[in-house]
């Protein structure tokens, strides 16, 4: 028997598994980010009737704004600090502190620490929207920025 034969079916199996189960992974490009997105998807299914997956387009609209009713009048959109180009370096609206890019292409560590992700949503949804974000909004937002 040639030694290379048994490896082929294993490779095929691995490819099949990653195709079937890796939708979030393929969309996000990082196992931790995929886990975070899967968590929001499970919440969104429970929260939002008729939830049919995340949308980068809705995420873009959320990111750009403008929104009304935010706690901080100077920041009607995420883009107010993070700039309209998510791959660019942001700037805190008041202190001027630099903010690392939101786009995953420019900052591959974005959305890979669940506690950090939740902390920022908890704060900035209130600052920009005046309310908590839904799980669908969080997933849309990450989906948009994962493809930027």
């Amino acid at each position: 028997m040639r030694p290379t034969r048994p490896t082929k079916p294993i490779l095929l199996l691995a490819a099949a598994v990653s195709l079937g189960a890796g939708v979030a992974l393929a969309a996000s490009g990082d196992p931790e980010r995929a886990r975070i997105l899967d968590g929001y998807a499970a919440q969104a299914k429970a929260q939002t009737p008729g939830f049919a997956g995340f949308s980068a387009e809705r995420g873009r609209a959320l990111y750009l704004g403008p929104h009304a009713g935010g706690k901080v009048a100077d920041t009607p959109g995420c883009a107010s600090c993070h700039t309209r180009d998510p791959a660019g370096t942001g700037r805190h609206y008041k202190t001027g502190r630099d903010i690392l890019p939101m786009a995953v292409s420019a900052n591959p560590k974005r959305f890979t620490d669940p506690a950090e992700v939740e902390k920022r949503f908890e704060r900035d949804c209130v600052n920009v929207l005046g309310r908590a974000c839904t799980a669908q909004e969080k997933g849309d937002f990450i989906t948009f920025l994962s493809n930027q």
């Binding site: 706690k71 805190h92 202190t95 502190r97 902390k119 704060r123 900035d124």
Partner: protein, 154 residues
């Protein structure tokens, strides 16, 4: 710089501070004499990370413990912004800030309203609106080494 070297000026500050506190002017480790304008740098990782995300992580010696407690009680409305933190992180930061606090007026939460600060920054208000400065909270615009606790005039 070795730890021993940096401690020597602090001893000097402690002596100076006794006079300053008697005069009711300065926190106990932000003395007036220009060659000693330094406070202990931030040495607590969570404080450095969480506070330093949006602004320079101000050293605990710049405010008295009562002010730090007020700040940590009000993170949901932190100078107009929601800056809330998970409870365990907030507790650790509060502990570090209050254990290493300076002195001053505990009713005031702005460093820039403390008497010693106003005394040191008695100049034209137009400075603050310069584009390179932006706000009084931006220590580093003029004090380039402020993040290390060194506030010598540049």
């Amino acid at each position: 710089m070795s730890p021993n070297r940096s401690l020597r000026p602090l001893t000097g500050i402690a002596v100076l501070a006794m006079f300053a506190v008697t005069a009711g002017a300065a926190p106990n480790n932000a003395a007036f004499a220009s060659e000693f304008e330094r406070v202990r740098p931030v040495t607590h990782a969570a404080t450095q990370k969480e506070c330093g995300e949006c602004h320079m992580a101000y050293q605990p010696g710049l405010l008295p413990a009562a002010s730090w407690n007020r700040i940590m009680d009000g993170l949901q409305d932190h100078f107009g912004e929601n800056a809330s933190l998970p409870a365990d992180t907030a507790a650790a930061i509060r502990n570090y800030l209050t254990q290493n606090a300076g002195s001053g007026d505990g009713r005031l939460i702005r460093i820039t309203e403390q008497r010693w600060w106003l005394h040191k920054h008695d100049f034209s208000p137009s400075i603050w609106t310069r584009k390179s400065v932006g706000a009084k909270s931006n220590c580093e615009a003029c004090h380039r080494t402020a993040a290390q606790g060194l506030y010598e005039d540049d």
